[in-house]
């Protein structure tokens, strides 16, 4: 079986490729170039750099598989970066990796697979996929809790899951590193990527300013509308943020609301962050159709959040209401709300 594997140059996708080779598949490595190699190494932060492409190529060579670099700069800019900039500018906190996975990586891989005459596509994500007797594909968390990436994959469709393979989703990260070491993969010691790849050193606001320049300065206010400080734009803030407000107050203050239209950053005490309900749009139900009615589930509202018990009510095919059993802190518009039942991903959407 011919399998196209997305190789980022990191440990996980390198081991994924190695495992597929071991399983006897006809493996083709693909790396996605998201920026112009001629621009050198400075532009991007922690993944998809020119060094990573070199690492991917060397791993592929070591495994004896062909390796190709596909140029996706234009689509990356259109799909991922432009959306990121728009979201921040409108007072939301986007999650570009989820957009990138569903709208860029998987769609590109599936397209490539058709072109390459390949049956399946694989990535190094920590997630699992199964197919039930009725032919429906199910998406689950990876077995390693600390590395699980199912949250970022909620937007995958049945058509994409039908082709998807996650070879490391069944194993803990330690084992993945051990396999990398034992096979002499040079990337075994590479640190995990953490940052958003196109944001240099966490300075995401500069990405927004550079691409969408405007005077966004405004006021920092409290719940009563009293002016506490000035700010350089709502895109410098995210819900729950405490540092960098430029205010000294008796009790710690947190960002509780962003109003891009009126250029207001509203702050309040920690308790003001608590909320027990949310609505989400652009919802994808992994099964292809929404659940028949309200379902009990656990809902995760950002990548580092323990999914919390809730009732989930689908609205139409692509919206939902979530009612948590207990209030959650800092529900943030633009982040994903992902619906789980135990380890299974039922679906998810973007918090309004």
């Amino acid at each position: 079986m011919r399998v196209v594997v997305a190789m980022s140059g990191g440990v996980d996708s390198s081991v994924a490729a190695a495992l597929l080779v071991d399983a006897g598949h006809d493996v083709v490595g693909v790396s996605m170039q998201l920026y112009d190699a001629a621009q050198g190494e400075e532009r991007f932060g922690s993944c998809c750099t020119i060094d990573d492409l070199h690492d991917a190529r060397r791993v592929a060579h070591g495994l004896g598989i062909p390796h190709y670099v596909v140029n996706l700069e234009r689509r990356f800019e259109d799909v991922v970066v432009a959306n990121f900039v728009r979201e921040y500018a409108s007072g939301r906190t986007p999650i570009p990796c989820a957009h990138c996975n569903s709208e860029l990586k998987f769609s590109t891989l599936v397209e490539q697979a058709i072109g390459f005459n390949a049956d399946r596509v694989a990535t190094g994500h920590y997630a699992r996929v199964t197919r039930d007797a009725g032919g429906v594909h199910h998406l689950f968390r990876g077995v390693d809790d600390r590395k699980d990436q199912a949250y970022f994959l909620f937007a995958l469709t049945q058509a994409q899951l039908a082709r998807a393979m996650f070879p490391v989703g069944n194993m803990p990260k330690d084992e993945v590193r051990r396999i990398a070491l034992s096979r002499g993969l040079r990337v075994a010691d590479k640190p995990d990527s953490q940052e958003i790849c196109f944001v240099p050193d966490g300075g995401y606001a500069s990405v927004v300013d550079r691409r969408l320049p405007a005077d966004r300065s405004g006021l920092v206010v409290d719940a009563q509308g009293r002016v506490l400080a000035r700010h350089e734009g709502v895109h410098h803030f995210t819900i729950g943020q405490r540092k960098g407000l430029g205010i000294s107050a008796a009790e710690p203050l947190y960002v509780v609301r962003l109003d891009a239209k009126r250029r207001l950053v509203q702050v309040g005490p920690k308790a003001a962050l608590d909320c027990a309900a949310l609505t989400a749009s652009g919802v994808n139900w992994v099964a292809g159709t929404p659940p028949a009615g309200d379902v009990p589930a656990q809902v995760q509202i950002r990548s580092r959040h323990a999914a919390a018990a809730a009732r989930v009510k689908p609205i139409g095919s692509d919206r939902m209401e979530v009612e948590f059993d207990d209030p959650q802190s800092a529900i943030t518009p633009g982040q994903a709300a992902v619906v789980f039942q135990d380890d299974e991903v039922l679906g998810g959407g973007w918090i309004d």
Partner: protein
């Protein structure tokens, strides 16, 4: 067996060349500048090779400067002539929009340093017109330009450029001319006196010599500012110990090219024509780029409507067939081919372009296999394009 149809990127060395290079590596360890027997032996290798290269292009051996390849030869020609002007004068440089980067970027560097630059436009035929040069010379006014640089054969399209007529025009104005003949050697007869140019670049690896060796022919008496500074090798025109084994390989490849030129070019032209005709017949929406009349015998550049050239290259590679989207030197960048852009092709046609370049090893049955593979892969890629919508 894998099929290699990317000879314009590089050609494999023949067994004969490989043997000669490895014999020189083993048996000829001296430095050609040394007085002793080892040095004399190495010097003899250079002399023989210089004579063979000179014979291949109708030049004198003393006019041949060995370089590390085509790029260095182009750099030395363009910058060497520009910088050799008396009293720091900076007369204009004229070149074309479809030159190899080795020329174009050298010219750009000079442009940034104050030399006026004229880049001649090239029509969709992929052949620059003599009129364009006439106009540029006219526009240059009183002071004659320092150099006209026009390639003999375009690497992406295979189109022949009217170098002889352009050199004559330049000469009439007292302007020296350079031609990058990297893609011409071994494919068409090249004679420097007949062309009437003053400098000519050669890359060994395009016609069966190893990578890392080439030559610049410099007409005797032409002033040239060396670009690598050091010892007095190559009559003071290119410092650095000569790469004796590779230069020995260049000799064998040059002799072979000289011997086989007529028969090989006819054979390759027949294969190329059959490949091209077959593709045009079997694949709807395929079109040849550039003037198919004025071409070297081994190259065809074809655009496939609704297909990304890059995907077709990968699809063919997975079936063991090596072709390219254009210049190998430009892959890895997102810039579409500057050649196809320069000749005014529509963006979709540029995106769908693939270059097939044949060589000595290409056989009839290989062409059959390619003609089987291309239509199927193009059809598959087109369904994919529709799937994306």
């Amino acid at each position: 067996m894998r099929i290699y149809l990317d000879y314009n990127a590089t050609a494999p060395v023949t067994a004969e060349v490989a043997d000669a290079v490895s014999a020189a590596l083993r048996d000829c360890p001296g430095n050609a500048s040394s007085i002793h027997a080892f040095g004399q032996r190495a010097k003899a290798v250079l002399d023989e090779s210089r004579a063979a290269v000179a014979r291949l292009i109708g030049a004198e051996p003393s006019e041949i400067v060995f370089t590390s390849g085509g790029t260095e030869a182009d750099n030395l020609a363009v910058r060497g002539v520009a910088e050799a002007q008396k009293d720091g004068a900076r007369p204009a440089i004229i070149t074309t929009a479809i030159e190899h980067e080795a020329v174009l970027n050298s010219v750009k560097v000079l442009g940034r340093r104050g030399w006026p630059v004229t880049v001649l436009p090239v029509p969709p035929t992929g052949v620059v017109t003599v009129d364009a040069l006439a106009e540029a010379l006219e526009a240059a006014g009183e002071e004659p330009p320092a150099l006209v640089s026009v390639m003999l054969v375009n690497n992406e399209l295979g189109t022949l450029q009217p170098v002889r007529a352009m050199a004559a025009l330049a000469r009439a104005r007292g302007v020296p001319s350079h031609t990058d003949a990297v893609q011409a050697i071994g494919r068409i007869p090249v004679d420097v006196r007949d062309l009437g140019v003053d400098l000519l670049s050669i890359a060994g690896h395009k016609f069966g010599a190893p990578k890392g060796v080439g030559a610049l022919w410099v007409r005797r008496g032409l002033a040239l500012q060396p670009q690598s500074i050091g010892g007095r090798q190559e009559r003071g025109r290119r410092a650095g110990t000569e790469n004796t084994p590779a230069i020995e390989g260049l000799r064998v490849a040059a002799e072979r090219a000289d011997r086989q030129l007529a028969s090989e070019s006819a054979r390759q032209a027949a294969l190329r024509d059959r490949l091209e005709r077959g593709i045009l017949e079997k694949v709807p929406g395929a079109a040849v780029n550039g003037d198919s009349g004025a071409r070297v015998p081994n190259t065809t550049n074809i655009s496939f409507d609704g297909v990304e050239g890059e995907s077709l290259v990968i699809g063919l590679d997975l079936e063991g067939i090596a072709v390219s989207t254009g210049s190998a030197c430009s892959s890895g960048t997102l810039e579409p081919s500057h050649v196809l852009r320069a000749i005014g092709l529509a963006p979709s046609r540029i995106e769908g372009a693939v270059r097939f370049s044949l060589g000595e090893g290409t056989t009839d049955s290989e062409i059959d296999r390619v003609l089987d593979a291309v239509p199927a892969i193009v059809a598959r890629l087109r369904t994919r394009g529709r799937a994306r919508g």
